[in-house]
Every structure is written in structure tokens, then in C-alpha cells.
């Protein structure tokens, strides 16, 4: 792989052109999930469990089937019986049996909102009416929502098939501890005992929602010949295809999934909830079927990010050198095993050099919707605990919190928690940039305080396929299999234009359906600009080579005698020496010189590097009411190289905004009856625009040597530091350390007024 050249200035990389999908989106023409209609389409609806935990004794659908206008009714019995198989398709991994039972419950419902039956009818009204005619007989079971409660002796066990993974020997009884992951090494207890300063704390977080604006929705059409089409909005249409085919036990190539525009996902659209059900309804009715969730269904039945209980102990020498860290956390897994504790473990303390460490993560099953990925899944929770503890440690040692971080910051070659050495990471560069930023030394007003926190996310590479083709007029189409969530069409066009050295507007990027491009992993893990970008560069390089070859053939010289220069082929030798041939001239004759010019790159991208961020937050705390105002916020991040800085800044700002919401007000609130009490955006309080100041994004560029243009990942890192940055700022402003999220006004007030 080419090392990024800092010598050669880029022509396109680092510019801010308008995104090719922009006009459609701002004019409302873009097709999002519920904009799509198929001829003869039916309207589906799903009946959901009113109980948090119950055995399904019987389901009577006869009355619903008899209702005029109802064309199909489905239950879990309509899905095939499957063998257990863990599939790694999204961020994290799921057992296909769990995916199936989550789409339509079979014998038990595991959370309030769990799907138990579905109908397809001639209108949404009839579909809803039909739901009311389905009778489900339940035997209610004891339920459990809390982490420690779920692990307690005598707690209701959700699955009698789950024996804690990662424990050797295998436990002799099933339990709600779905999996346990441990990393680290050295003598933690010894180092803590001899440390000059130690801090200890227990931190708790509630589950939170990804907060995408567009609810899940799809249309499925399954023909008698076995072939099917699905139109859906997701973070990965290949993942939809793979999961749907597996749940239905049919060949993947029989399903063509067309990606519609996506109105936000943030990790929450990396699985299937509706598609297999819509398929079954379509097969039964012989018609295309739309299923769309309401906002309430999204809250009750799709995956939140896990809540957590985290215990942290840190120890340092008198000069601030960290000597030991002990971190143990419980994460909600919800109704099914999320296989995700590992990400939390490896995201806990790796940003510091700590010779003695032990990090343990346990995933806990409970009667909540199955946890799903949310932007840097598993990292913000544990980072909140560790970075709060770092702040406390700085206070104890009398060392500036930024200096304490700088002193211990991991650099290239230092071991990660896994033991493997870090590559070319940029944590120190981010800390230095934060220190140099005017925000860090700006004066503060009354009741104001400043907090800082650092964090990271591993990022990812993985499989992507890209097709770069040249039209007869020399313009270029880049087709990828990666849904565009944060501006990736623009970034792909920039990278292809950079390789070919042609104007950006001559390259158009599209997202192709599963039948039109090769397999590509989900847009998630901050992988798309890195991995799909690598495939784009590789395919564009091949197109460049083909153009040179064709020009050489047309000139009657050998390929070595031509060179690509400024978007044209130049003849270096012979009688045509010095002549130039444009892409248009070559492509215009391509049908006669060997055929159309196109190249596919299908690769599994390696060499990804983690991203690091440092956030500075100023809060003002109202001492009488506990209200916390974010008065200034600066987010510094190493992104490798910013291909399109606008969209990089947008990612950083968006992540910070979501992290601030998580810190201050967001939480799923369950009643004593085990039912969700705030299934909507009124009482699930994400920040509104007026809650936030302008979030200043500061881009630090420490290029990734393994990517042709130096890309690392961007999208997930910025949600990691805000939780602790806000908590640390509240501590600085008001002198109280809040260890339980969200830090809503009543919680802050209670901390400020312990007398009540």
C-alpha cells in the first residue's frame, strides 16, 4: 500500500464540495424507507407483547384472518426452525436463532413490545383493526430489568440454553450472564496497594436510544418462484440480505435488497426486525407488503445501547504515573446475547500506559429489548467511568487533568489491553492540540467549570466491493455497496477524482443494490471511508491503468511508453511523443479498443487504526435548580486525513451532541410493571438545538500509513469522551461528582442538596 505522501499536495482530498445526494435530500425528493411504494402493496402491522416476560400458550388468528381486507397473518410458527449459528454481519454478532425469535417470538416473549404476530391488509386501518382481533393467551412470568438483579440468586432466567460464554470450565447451570470477557495482566492488587494515590468508584448508566429520526420500515415482495425483492433503509443491505435469507433458510441470491436513503442509524440499523416478517406476509398474500414501525415501536422493540454498572479502581505514583487499573462492568444485553462485551473491555483503558491491569466485562440478559450497537458500541459507558476516575485522581494528586492524561497517554508501540502494540495513534497529538486551544485557558464565569476527557474507538476495515466505470464521454461512476450515512458518496467521489486527477463533478458515486455490486459490510464501525475508500482507490487505479493501456494500444506503443498525467494519458515515446489523450477520447473509442472500461475491487481492508479524541466542556450549573448548561464545547480528534472536512466536522459535532444528551437527560424509564414509560421523544429527552452551544470541531491529522490517503475512522470516536467531559465539568463547576447518568437537573440538585 502506498504511504500517504505529505509532500504532494492533494487536489481533491481535503476539499469541501457539495455532496452528490444533497439536492435530493434538501428538496425532499430522496426516497427514504416509507417513501417507497410497490404496485399492489399491502400494509402490515405487528402485534406486540404487553408483558415483559411471558410464555405464549396459544395464538388465535382466525378472527383476524376472517376480517375483510386482511390478506395474511403470520406468527413465529411461520418461520423455519433453525440451528444455532452466530453471524458476524453488523457491529457485533448475533445468533440467527435469536434474530428469528426477535422478529417473531416463538414460545416466550422476553420484553414488552416483543413481536408475536403480524398481519398484512389492504389498508393500515384494517391491519390495525386485525391486530385487535388476534387473541394471545399468555402465562406471565417473573421478569427482571436490572443488571445486578438479573445476576442475583433466584432471578428469573431468560434462556435455559445460555451458559456464560468465556468462562472455563463451562458453568453447570444456565444463567443471565451471557458472556464474560477479561483482559489485562500484571499484579493489579500489589500495584494498587503500593500506589501513592488511588481512586475507587462505582458508576451507573441507563440504556439509551440511538435516536435516528427515521423509524425502521421496509417493503418485501416474495414471488412464487422463490425470488424476492426487499426495499429498505439500513446500514447494510448485504447484512439485511444475509440475515433475512438465514432466518428464512433460503439462498441469499434469491433476495435482491435495494437500499433506500437512510434517515439515521447510529448502529441501530445493523440488524433485521421487519424484513423476514414482511417476506413471510408477502409469500402468504402473494403481494408486496410494507412494514413500518411507529416511533413508539422503535422505542419498545429495537435495540438500545446497554446500560451499565461499572466499578473502577485506579492507582498512580506521586508523580502521576499510572501503576494499576481494575475495571469490572456489567452491560445490559437485553433479551438476547449481544456478543459485545469485548468491545467495552478493549475500549476501557487502552489510551493509557498501565503496567498492571484487569478489565472484566460481563453481558447480562434481562427483560428489555435486545441491546444493539450505538456509535462506538460499548465504549462510552466504560470510558465515562475511567475518565471520571482519572479526573478524580488528578484532583487527589494535585496535577492538572490534561497533564495527567498527557503523562500517561499511549503512543505507537505501547501495548493495548489485548497485549498487541498500538500502531500510529494520535492521542498525544490530540491532547497537545487541546492544550494549545484557546478554550483550554479561557476565563470562566460564576458557577462555571471546565472538564476534559479523552477516549478512543478501535475502528474497522473489512469487506467492501466497489465498481468504477467510465462512460463513453469519460465521466466516471463509482458504485459501492455501502449505504451513505455521513456523506460517503462525496468522499468516494473525492478519492476517485484524486486517483484519476479529474474534476470532482466528473465522478458520481452511487449506492448499488445487492444484485448489482459485490458483498460489502455494513456502514458501521467507522469503516466506510477507510475500507470502501480503499476499494474505491484500488478500482480507480485499475481504471487508470486500463485507460493507459487503451491509449497505448491506440497509439500503437507499449504501455510503458505512456503515463497518466493531470487526467490524461501522455505518450512518452515514438512519433506520438508529447501527445495527450483524454479519458473521453479513450472511452469514446473503447468499444473498438477492447470493450468498456471498468474495474471492480473486492477486498477485505486491513491496516485500520483507531481514532482518539479529547473533548473540552464548560458547564454552568444553577446551584438552586441543578440545571446544567453547556456553555462551550470543543472536540479535538485525530482522523488520519480528513477526505471531506465538512462531513468529518459534522460527524464530530453529531457524536458530541449525542454524548452530551447521554450525559444530561437521556434514559429509558421503565415502570414497576416492566413496561417502558417514555416511548417517545417528548420524555426520552435528546438535546434540542437550543440545549447546545456551537460545538467546535478541531481536526488533528496523524495519517494512517496503511491507507492510500491516510484515512482512519471518524464517526464513532466523538461519542466516547462527552459523558465524562460533562461530568468532569459539572464537578469543576459545582464541586459534586456525579457517578450516575443521566445527570438530569433533579439528580444534580440532589447532589448539591444532600439534606433534601
Amino acid at each position: 500500500m502506498n504511504a500517504p505522501s505529505t509532500m504532494k499536495p492533494f487536489r481533491h482530498v481535503g476539499t469541501r464540495p457539495v455532496r452528490p445526494d444533497g439536492v435530493d435530500k434538501v428538496t425532499g425528493k430522496a426516497l427514504y424507507s416509507t417513501d417507497f411504494k410497490a404496485p399492489g402493496m399491502l400494509w402490515g402491522a405487528i402485534l406486540r407483547s404487553p408483558h415483559p416476560h411471558a410464555r405464549i400458550l396459544s395464538i388465535d388468528t382466525k378472527k383476524a384472518e376472517a376480517l375483510a381486507g386482511v390478506k395474511a397473518v403470520a406468527t413465529g410458527r411461520d418461520l423455519p426452525t433453525l440451528e444455532s449459528l452466530v453471524m458476524h454481519v453488523g457491529e457485533g454478532a448475533s445468533d440467527i436463532v435469536d434474530v428469528s425469535h426477535n422478529c417473531l417470538a416463538l414460545d416466550k416473549v422476553l420484553y414488552e413490545g416483543h413481536a408475536v404476530a403480524a398481519v398484512a391488509a389492504a389498508s393500515p386501518e384494517i391491519a390495525r383493526e386485525a391486530l385487535g382481533l388476534i387473541t394471545v393467551e399468555y402465562e406471565e412470568l417473573a421478569f427482571v430489568l436490572g443488571l445486578e438483579e438479573a445476576l442475583a440468586e433466584g432471578a428469573p432466567v431468560l434462556h435455559d440454553t445460555v451458559f456464560t460464554k468465556g468462562v472455563d470450565p463451562k458453568p453447570d447451570r444456565p444463567s443471565n450472564a451471557a458472556m464474560r470477557v477479561e483482559m489485562g495482566g500484571g499484579d493489579v492488587e500489589g500495584a494498587l496497594a503500593s500506589a501513592a494515590a488511588t481512586v475507587t468508584g462505582r458508576y451507573t448508566l441507563e440504556p439509551v436510544h440511538q435516536g435516528y429520526i427515521e423509524p425502521h420500515a421496509c417493503v418485501a415482495s416474495w414471488n412464487g418462484d422463490g425470488q424476492a425483492q426487499i426495499w429498505t433503509s439500513s446500514q447494510g443491505h448485504f447484512a439485511v440480505r444475509a440475515l433475512t435469507a438465514s432466518v428464512l433458510a433460503i439462498p441469499q441470491a434469491d433476495i435482491r435488497v435495494t437500499p433506500l436513503e437512510i434517515g439515521g442509524g447510529f448502529g441501530g440499523k445493523t440488524t433485521v426486525y421487519l424484513e423476514p416478517v414482511a417476506m413471510v406476509l408477502s409469500k402468504k398474500s402473494g403481494r408486496p407488503v410494507r412494514l413500518a414501525m411507529t416511533r413508539e415501536e422503535v422505542f419498545r422493540a429495537t435495540g438500545p445501547a446497554p446500560g451499565a454498572v461499572i466499578d473502577v479502581r485506579l492507582g498512580a505514583a506521586a508523580d502521576g504515573t499510572l501503576v494499576a487499573a481494575d475495571v469490572e462492568f456489567l452491560y445490559h444485553s437485553g433479551a438476547y446475547t449481544a456478543n459485545d462485551a469485548g468491545a467495552g473491555v478493549s475500549s476501557a483503558i487502552g489510551h493509557y500506559r498501565i503496567p498492571n491491569s484487569r478489565v472484566v466485562g460481563i453481558e447480562v440478559l434481562c427483560n428489555r429489548p435486545a441491546a444493539k450497537a450505538y456509535r462506538a458500541p460499548g465504549a462510552p459507558q466504560v470510558n465515562f467511568a475511567v475518565e471520571s476516575a482519572m479526573d478524580e485522581l488528578a484532583g487527589k494528586l494535585g496535577i492538572d487533568p490534561l497533564e495527567l492524561r498527557l503523562k500517561n497517554a499511549a503512543i505507537e508501540g505501547d501495548p493495548q489491553t489485548t497485549g498487541l502494540p498500538w500502531g500510529r495513534i494520535g492521542y498525544v497529538e490530540c491532547l497537545e492540540a487541546a492544550k494549545a486551544h484557546p478554550h483550554w485557558s479561557a476565563p470562566l464565569g460564576p458557577n462555571q467549570g471546565r472538564g476534559i476527557a479523552g477516549g478512543y474507538w478501535g475502528n474497522y476495515g473489512g469487506p467492501s466491493t466497489v465498481n468504477v466505470s467510465v462512460a463513453e464521454d469519460g465521466t466516471v461512476t463509482v458504485a459501492t455497496g455501502s449505504p451513505d450515512i455521513g456523506g460517503s458518496r462525496a468522499s468516494m467521489a473525492i478519492m476517485a477524482a484524486e486517483v484519476l486527477d479529474i474534476p470532482y463533478e466528473q465522478v458520481r458515486a452511487v449506492v448499488a443494490d445487492t444484485a448489482s455490486i459485490g458483498v460489502s459490510m455494513v456502514t458501521g464501525g467507522s469503516r466506510t471511508t477507510f475500507a470502501t475508500g480503499m476499494a474505491t482507490v484500488q478500482a480507480a487505479e485499475e481504471v487508470k491503468r486500463l485507460l493507459c493501456e487503451r491509449a497505448a494500444r491506440m497509439w500503437g506503443v507499449i504501455s510503458d511508453q505512456v503515463e497518466w498525467r493531470s487526467g490524461e494519458v501522455i505518450c512518452l515515446d515514438g512519433e506520438k511523443q508529447g501527445q495527450a489523450m483524454s479519458a473521453a477520447a479513450i472511452a469514446g473509442r473503447s468499444f473498438h479498443s477492447g470493450g468498456p472500461i471498468a474495474a471492480v475491487a473486492a477486498l477485505s481492508a486491513k491496516g485500520w487504526l483507531p481514532g482518539f479524541g479529547v473533548h473540552i466542556c464548560d458547564t454552568e450549573v444553577d446551584p438552586e435548580t441543578g440545571h446544567v448548561k453547556i456553555v462551550r464545547y470543543t472536540a479535538v480528534q485525530d482522523v488520519g486525513i480528513a477526505i471531506h472536512p465538512d462531513y468529518v466536522e459534522g460527524q464530530i459535532q453529531g457524536g458530541a451532541a449525542q454524548g452530551i444528551g447521554w450525559a444530561l437527560n437521556e434514559a429509558y424509564i421503565y415502570g414497576k410493571d416492566g413496561k417502558l414509560d417514555n416511548a417517545g421523544f417528548l420524555d426520552y429527552r435528546m438535546p434540542v438545538a437550543s440545549d447546545l452551544p456551537m460545538i467546535e470541531a478541531v481536526i488533528v491529522e496523524v495519517p494512517n500509513p496503511s491507507h492510500p490517503y491516510g484515512v482512519k475512522g471518524v464517526g464513532e470516536v466523538p461519542i466516547v469522551p462527552p459523558l465524562a467531559a460533562v461530568a468532569n465539568a459539572i464537578h469543576a463547576a459545582a464541586g459534586v461528582r456525579l457517578k450516575d447518568l443521566p445527570m438530569a437537573p433533579d439528580r444534580v440538585y440532589a447532589a448539591l442538596h444532600p439534606e433534601g
Binding site: E624, H627, D677, D683, R685, D691, P745, D746, G756
Partner: protein
């Protein structure tokens, strides 16, 4: 399928007749509560009677010092009326805390009141101001104080066929000032955890001669706290008087524990917000005294 008829009568009499004809019929103001509740399936009226086409139903009317606000006037229009904003800034601010700009371009104070939510933002301010409702019904018109309209969450004292035609304010007293404050976790698009409306009159010496203090979200309906007002009257709003007022407010608060706030937090905030609102009202009263 249950269906809902839509009527847009042109006169008060027609509206009364339509409402009287169907006990499930509902008046429609801005619809920012009604339509939302219908969509959520919580309400399925046989008819909605749109009040916006009735002459005089939209707009701020002024007779001398006294203002009357048509029931279908959106909150944004209140803010646009300079004289009303100068006379009753607390009421205008309260109405313009509702939702967002888009919501307030539709939402009305009459709808806010008749939706009968204990947390309705404009209601404590209206009660503090001493506003009254003009009600039209099958047996003619009557006037009742604003605080007499809500009887419990979601329920009003309006009889079948009745609706609010306008909200009237008493003449603004010399040396009078009002204010409304609410506590919400977010800055906007939120429901009051506590709301406090205050209207006071100061004489030339700065002595409080009259006061009305009303609270939202601390009981099933808006609470007019006479003890709190009494604690201020005769004082120069010194610390002792303010502390006594806050205590009376807390004592009168009887909130519930729910997802939006705890009992103890709501009580504490009622005291804090009432005191802050008194000070704002006083600065407004002083400015004009």
C-alpha cells in the same frame, strides 16, 4: 372504521349547535394537543369543530386598558402584539414557551387551558393575571375565572355544547408586573416539571399591595396559592417575605412522583421558581411604577 367529521362553522351559534349535537365532538383550536391525541388513538371524537373560521375568534382585542384574546389566537400572535406584551409580559412569555415556533404558530392559550393538563404553561400565568374566560353555550354566554376551567387532568368544567370564546384580562393595575417561569430538563420542546406564574402590584414606596401566585404541575390542576400572596402583601419583598412566600408555595404543592420529576424536587423547584418569578415581576412593576 370509526370516522371523524370536520366542521368549520362561521358563527358562535353554529359552533354551539354542532358541539351540542354530539357529546363526543371537540372544539379544534390549533390542534397541537387534539390531533396528536387522536393520532395516538387516545381520543376519537365523532366530530371536530374548527373554531378558526368564526369571526373575531382570532386576534387580540383592546378596550381601554383591558385586553381580550380570541380563543383561536395562536401564541405567536400574542408576542407580536406590543401593547399586550408590555401590559402582560408574563402571560405572553408563558404562551411562548409552549413547544417550538412551529407549534406556537398553531397553538392557542384556550386550547392549552381546555386540554386541562396540570403542566400547561400559559395557565398559571393567566391565573396569576386574574384572567377570565368568556364561555358560549346552549344557554348563552357566561364568564368564569380561568382557574375554574380545569377540574382534573384532561377534564374541564365546560358543559356539553360549551366552548371558550375569549380570554379577558382585568385592566392592568398601576404598578403591576407579572412573570412566569418553568423548570424543564431541556430548554424547549418539553413539559413543565413545575411552573410558577406571578402577578404583583407595588405602590410608590415599593410596598406590595396585591399579589397572585399560581403553580403548574404540582397538583391535578393549577394551584392558586393565597398564603403565598399574603406573605408578600404589605412587604417590600425583603428576604423574610420571600422566604415565607416560598414556604407557602412548597406547602401548597402536592405533586406526584413520575418520570418527569420527583415529589421533593418539584416542591423545591416550586419555591425557587416562585421566588425568581416574584423578583422578575417586581422589576417589571418597579420599572413602570
Amino acid at each position: 372504521m370509526p370516522s371523524t367529521a370536520y366542521h368549520a362553522p362561521g358563527t358562535v351559534e353554529d359552533a354551539v349547535a354542532l358541539l351540542a349535537a354530539d357529546p363526543t365532538a371537540r372544539p379544534l383550536g390549533g390542534g397541537t394537543d387534539l390531533i396528536v391525541q387522536m393520532r395516538a388513538g387516545r381520543l376519537s371524537p365523532g366530530a371536530v369543530i374548527d373554531l378558526k373560521r368564526i369571526g373575531g375568534m382570532s386576534g387580540v382585542h383592546r378596550a381601554g386598558d383591558a385586553f381580550a384574546i380570541g380563543a383561536a389566537t395562536p401564541c405567536t400572535a400574542l408576542k407580536a402584539d406590543a401593547a399586550l406584551s408590555a401590559a402582560w409580559p408574563g402571560v405572553v412569555e408563558a404562551a411562548n414557551l409552549i413547544g417550538s415556533v412551529q407549534v406556537r404558530n398553531r397553538a392557542t392559550m384556550a386550547g392549552n387551558l381546555c386540554n386541562a393538563s396540570p403542566a400547561a404553561d400559559s395557565v398559571p400565568a393567566l391565573v396569576a393575571a386574574g384572567a377570565v374566560c368568556v364561555i358560549a353555550g346552549p344557554s348563552g354566554q357566561r364568564e368564569v375565572p380561568v382557574e375554574a376551567i380545569p377540574v382534573s387532568p384532561g377534564k374541564t368544567s365546560l358543559a356539553p355544547g360549551e366552548f371558550v370564546v375569549e380570554i379577558r384580562f382585568p385592566p392592568k393595575p398601576a404598578g403591576g408586573g407579572d412573570a412566569y417561569l418553568r423548570s424543564t430538563p431541556r430548554t424547549e420542546m418539553d413539559i413543565a416539571v413545575v411552573g410558577a406564574g406571578v402577578s404583583i402590584v407595588l405602590d410608590g414606596e415599593g410596598i406590595c399591595t396585591a399579589a397572585r401566585i399560581a403553580l403548574g404541575a404540582v397538583g391535578p390542576t393549577v394551584v392558586l396559592v393565597e398564603d403565598a400572596a399574603a406573605a408578600l402583601v404589605g412587604s417590600k419583598l425583603d428576604d423574610d417575605a420571600l422566604a415565607a412566600m416560598s414556604q407557602a408555595v412548597q406547602a401548597a404543592s402536592n405533586p406526584i412522583d413520575d418520570k418527569r420529576g420527583t415529589v421533593s424536587y418539584r416542591k423545591a423547584m416550586a419555591g425557587v421558581l416562585a421566588r425568581r418569578a416574584v423578583l422578575i415581576a417586581a422589576s417589571r412593576a418597579g420599572a413602570k411604577a
